[in-house]
Symmetry: C2
């Protein structure tokens, strides 16, 4: 998963410093305005779903009344059965354990944690907000919006470094077994944000089986990129709910997904898959806040895809657009940084990001240099809780949104900034 | 607003008892299956918005990129400017103070109160969940889902009876001035649920001006029926935000509305209008739970209506469908109950409900009788906090969803049940 270069060649960098300064000045002179900050789909990707722009369509009117339900009226907290059937197959969960909601899995995750704070889970000794301290394990580098949910709700985060191949199960298991204030863990099981790692069935089994000191310990299993392959190998996500049930911990895992990066970002459908007890708990609270989700949008998606196979086919069209951009990122990094032995980066087989580790202590400098050259990067530290990367070395690259030629131009500029910062720090 | 009959004629009821028992047996024999429980729009009303079924439409593609924003991509927590402009005019608030959100104003209201519990408002001494007690004033009869939000969040409800013409300002003002644990008040200002009353400008001014012991006292101003007129008189809602600002209490009122009963219930757009400080507070928390609302649905609505005038025109078509149903309800009640002097009911000029007070102590019996005759009514007590009507006399009638002939059949049946229950109680 990870491409490691040899260690930095300080002498070569020192020698190249004048040349790098020149290259950087030339970069600035270009007056670029490029953006690699966020994992947004490109307009070309969004166009793939333009068939939805006129759906469900005016004829036949019956389309608006699938399964005897009038999708235009109130009701049905679980969402439209047709759409749930399609995504139950894709997420490998029973349709009866899958809820189709609004437009954002982030909202489903936020509500889960917020309701745990306000009410606790069924087996919680008390609402979490009444506990003296609530803590949460965050693998790093990780997803800044996960960390923001914890921070907002006053949950103390414990960073555990990711290993090659995913979360550090041994370290996590030790923490979870020994500390009853640890109530949760974020996992992005497939093509993790940002490092692209995949949780194997064995790792998943270990996570759902490990003893937990807190009776209400939960894993929020954010399967945002389950279907977002960049190669022919369409790796299936570990069946976390099933594994958890087999391990005797059926309520440990709540799984989230959405079509934000399948159809439209912000106008898609989010999903929650969970054990019957967790789903009943979730719906009990949801039912006080909502009469039901937008079933017209559910129907729109169900008609557009037709089947799980239709979704898989659709994702291959995304891949055709995305794979060249990721190829551009990694090949430019290899070409430009390899010579100096600078940097370590991932070569993801799916998902939305490349994780780049620069020379320790220079990530902030790289981001600042890039900014001054008109290239927006995710702030250094964003992939760590509280925005603090202790090594100041990780940068998340998001190449999906700009057109390929902009990705190329931006990455060439980023490489210049990485090398200049490295030369300044090591040899300058 | 309210039609009052004379007091019950016990002698006439006693004499009619055998005849009423016969009428009830005949009603049961019909094997009806009718439903007057919830304020849902009818299929005929939903059809009025079928023009949206194929919107925004595939051509021109620019439609998907209004104002330079790609509505198919992430971003824009405030919602689509075009749609906010239309509803800002309709709700008489500055567009800059109006947020267009997801599909449910109930969710916006729930989140407001939940976030007050978790975090407090900016001027709160502490998050409300840290207070020993939080109380809330509920005018009765009122909306059961408002009460459910309070109950869910552990907020103690104080019932204050509605008066002719709206909330009992004097009673509310005395409570709010004297008790710092009272943090909030629900108001449905226009065509209140269920009694149809309208908050005048004077009443609104009093509510936003009255001294409050709690520094963070809030009025949740649920303007669900602002545009839902049943007559030629299209009464404008009191401009609550402006009046609150004039009174020096700009942050006291948060206003909610939605298109649930304008376009589609569950597939519409919800709105929050608030002071700059309240809106900043709301968006600070919303931004942790969401990257933005479904702007494609915002665009769909903006294109469908075109302007505020388009919405008003559309509401007149709803009125054509609804007015005969409300007329049927009130005329059947007058015809059947008048003779016996039984019952008091509202004659609403808008909104979704008729509020019926039967002989005290008989509302539960009426609902049970109706149920056994195949007519589903909102449970007795639903219009009161904790589902407890101390007089057991109020029943909320929701005539919008069934076709006119079913409303007529159901109401004739309800009248029989009301009279039978009255005769049993008074004369039997």
């Amino acid at each position: 998963m990870t491409t490691t270069t040899s260690s930095p060649n300080a002498a070569a960098l020192a020698a190249a410093l004048p040349e790098l300064r020149e290259a950087y000045a030339a970069l600035q002179a270009k007056g670029l305005k490029l953006d690699l900050t966020r994992g947004k789909p490109s307009a070309e990707q969004l166009d793939l779903s333009n068939g939805m722009l006129a759906l469900p369509g005016t004829a036949p009117t019956q389309a608006a009344r699938a399964n005897g339900t009038d999708v235009r009226n109130y009701g049905g907290l679980d969402g439209l059965p047709e759409l749930r059937a399609i995504f139950a197959e894709l997420l490998d969960v029973p349709a009866g354990q899958l809820l189709a909601g609004g437009n954002a899995s982030l909202t489903l995750m936020y509500d889960t944690v917020a309701w745990a704070m306000l009410f606790g889970f069924p087996e919680s000794p008390a609402p979490w907000s009444r506990e003296e301290k609530v803590r949460w394990i965050c693998s790093v580098p990780g997803y800044d919006r996960h960390f923001a949910v914890c921070e907002e709700l006053g949950i103390e985060m414990i960073a555990v470094p990711m290993k090659d191949g995913g979360p550090d199960v041994a370290a996590i298991a030790e923490l979870v077994a020994g500390d009853p204030t640890i109530k949760g863990l974020w996992v992005v099981p497939t093509y993790s944000n940002p490092d692209g790692s995949i949780v194997s069935d064995d790792v998943a089994r270990a996570l759902v089986s490990m003893p937990a000191a807190a009776p209400d310990f939960r894993i929020l299993w954010d399967n945002a990129y389950a279907l977002h392959h960049l190669t022919d190998t369409e790796t299936a996500s570990a069946p976390a709910l099933r594994l958890a049930a087999e391990a005797g911990n059926p309520d440990r895992v709540l799984m989230y997904a959405s079509t934000s990066k399948i159809t439209w970002a912000g106008a898609g459908v989010a999903f929650l898959a969970a054990s019957p007890a967790n789903l009943a708990w979730y719906k009990k609270h949801l039912g006080k806040a909502s009469i039901g989700p937008d079933k017209v949008n559910h129907l729109r998606h169900a008609l557009f895809f037709g089947s799980a196979g239709g979704v898989r086919e659709h994702m291959r069209r995304h891949r055709e657009i995305l794979a060249p951009k990721f190829e551009a990122v990694t090949s430019i990094l290899a070409e430009r940084l390899g010579e100096y032995g600078v940097g370590t980066w991932t070569d993801p087989k799916g998902g939305y990001f490349v994780s780049l580790d620069v020379v320790p202590g220079t990530a902030s400098r790289v981001v600042a240099l890039a900014k001054d050259a008109g290239i927006a990067l995710t702030p250094a530290g964003a992939t760590f809780p509280y925005g603090k990367d202790p090594q100041d070395q990780n940068i998340r690259l998001a190449p999906t949104m700009p057109p390929l030629e902009e990705v190329t131009a931006a990455m060439d500029g980023v490489a210049t900034c990485v090398l200049l910062a490295a030369a300044e720090a090591l040899g300058g």
